[in-house]
């Protein structure tokens, strides 16, 4: 069993089944992608894992223990972190403050510590600040620590979100469309960065992505969702050739058109 396993996870909203009995098993230290057309239920599935939603059916096991029904902050403390599709930074706080918040579960100071600031709290603050600066450095935001988050450029905001997520010392990191809105060079940078996260920090990475080059280039395993169900799972090569996946993305007529098109090309060439 991998670091994260979901069993028959189902989430309904009224009559709509957003996630339908999805089962995945993510090996530790893998780079795992979840893809699918828009509205397939990918983000909803993420939300189930991170505790925003409680699935109606199924179970979610992290490191062998069920995390079903835990609140998001309890799940965060177990070592699960995430970023968001639409960047959700704490916009009016500085970059370094954002990262410091990320370290919240690993700090201990309470209200008395805050008011009286005994040496232990002072040390904790200093160490956390240092770690925050290191993390900013790691994601490439050195020198911008005092910038208010909403003033950062889009690409920097994405990095900050990742830095904030890393501040939690997670064992598994969920990235929701990390390359959205990026040009090819930035995308390549992000791809390298994701590799570093796994290689240098040993974090398991789970991605939701739409950019197929990224998905195919970076993933070790891919799961494909469509209309809430998992329709395929495997290596990038297997997924590329899977007819159901192609149909999900292009639709049956699209598949037929593509086949017809490729047939014509073959005929013309001959």
């Amino acid at each position: 069993m991998g670091i994260l396993m979901t069993k028959q996870v189902t989430k309904r909203f009224g009559g709509l089944v957003a996630v339908d009995a999805v089962e995945i098993d993510i090996p530790e230290r893998a780079i795992y992608s979840i893809i699918g057309p828009n509205g397939a239920g990918k983000t909803t599935f993420f939300n189930c894992i991170t505790g925003f939603y409680i699935p109606e059916e199924g179970d979610i096991l992290f490191q062998g223990e069920s995390i079903l029904g835990l609140s998001p902050d309890q799940i965060a403390r177990r070592g699960i972190a995430r970023t968001y599709q639409n960047i959700r930074l704490f916009s009016n706080m500085t970059a370094v403050e954002n990262v410091l918040v990320g370290q919240h579960p690993h700090m201990k100071a309470g209200i008395f510590g805050a008011i009286f600031r005994p040496p232990s709290v002072r040390q904790e603050e200093a160490q956390s600040l240092q770690r925050a600066v290191e993390l900013l450095h790691f994601v490439g935001l050195q020198g911008k620590g005092n910038w208010v988050a909403r003033n950062l450029a889009y690409g920097d905001q994405r990095r900050l979100e990742i830095a904030r997520a890393l501040a939690n010392n997670p064992k598994i990191l969920f990235l929701d469309e990390p390359t959205a809105g990026m040009n090819p060079r930035e995308t390549a940078g992000m791809t390298d960065f994701i590799h570093r996260l796994r290689d240098e920090l040993g974090i398991t990475i789970v991605l939701i992505e739409h950019d197929m080059r990224v998905v195919m280039g970076i993933s070790e395993r891919i799961a494909v969702l469509d209309h809430g169900s998992k329709i395929a799972e495997g290596s990038p090569l297997e997924i590329q050739r899977n007819p159901q996946v192609i149909e999900a993305y292009l639709g049956r007529e699209g598949v037929e058109a593509a086949q017809a098109g490729s047939q014509r090309r073959v005929e013309r060439a001959v």
Partner: protein
Amino acid sequence: MWVIGGLVLVGVVWGSVNTILNNPYSRANWIDFVVFGLAQGCLYALIALGYTLVYGILRMINFAHGEVFMAGAFTGYFVAQPLYDNGLMASQPILALLIVSVVAMGTSIIVAYLLERICYRPLRNAPRLVPLITAIGASLFLQYTFAGFYGTGVKTYPNVPSLEGEWEIAGIGVLKTQVVVIVAATVLMTLLYLFVQYTKIGKAMRAVSEDKETAALMGINVDQTIVRTFVIGAALAGAAGVLYALLNKQVQFYMGFQPGLKAFTSAVLGGIGNIPGAMVGGIFLGLFESVGPSLFLEGWQIPAPYQLKDAIAFTMLVLILIFRPTGILGERLAKKKA
């Protein structure tokens, strides 16, 4: 949390049982309470419609709506008194009241229009707290502007001679004014319901409430619809102002606060955004408030239970918002997650 709710319920039942056993009030008393409650409830319902309409279309609480109500009621006095003095109130009560109503509703409409244009429109996309604080500021501002205009004293509406006294209905004596209020309010509420359901403007209002962007794409002028919503809500509040004056006679610059809050409670009770809900909520609250203190607070031997009448309304507000913010008839407002 459910423990507290349960305790309250037990308390209410226990008190009621006690009261019924001890029977301190006569049948006539109870009927008085009920009719009075009905009339008050109709007022709350009319004002509540204003809250619910605006909330449905803008998802904001128009905290200053109570002052829209006050503006109409208070200004109406300055027409009602001369009409009484020159005898029109006695000779042509319907015409006189109509004139007063037009003035009252007109004033309320102007105030609501200015509110929307100046305070709310620029903040349509602002974070949630900002329009709320603005509304609170507007409420204060309006109260004290009218206090500045008309003075801080109480003005008493003149009696309508033909409405003094009681009518005999089914062997029971009921105050004429209360009957008029109930009837008029019912007519207005029915008209509103029909308007919203069957006219083009009404449908536009419902469309914008559902989904502003899509309504705009379908050619509906969103700004205009919003203005119209405010206007209709204000007209109802202005009418409620005149009816209030018929019942309670006295008007003053801060008269809007409590009825406003109670009307809001009614709107939430019935499910905010839900038009029939606002009507039901208003009448329910009016009845509960009128009959309640005598019914269950007496049973607990609480002295002068009427002092706590308002506390009952506020307690109901708090309990509803905590336990069932969707109200009796409402739908759950989805919480946006990620």
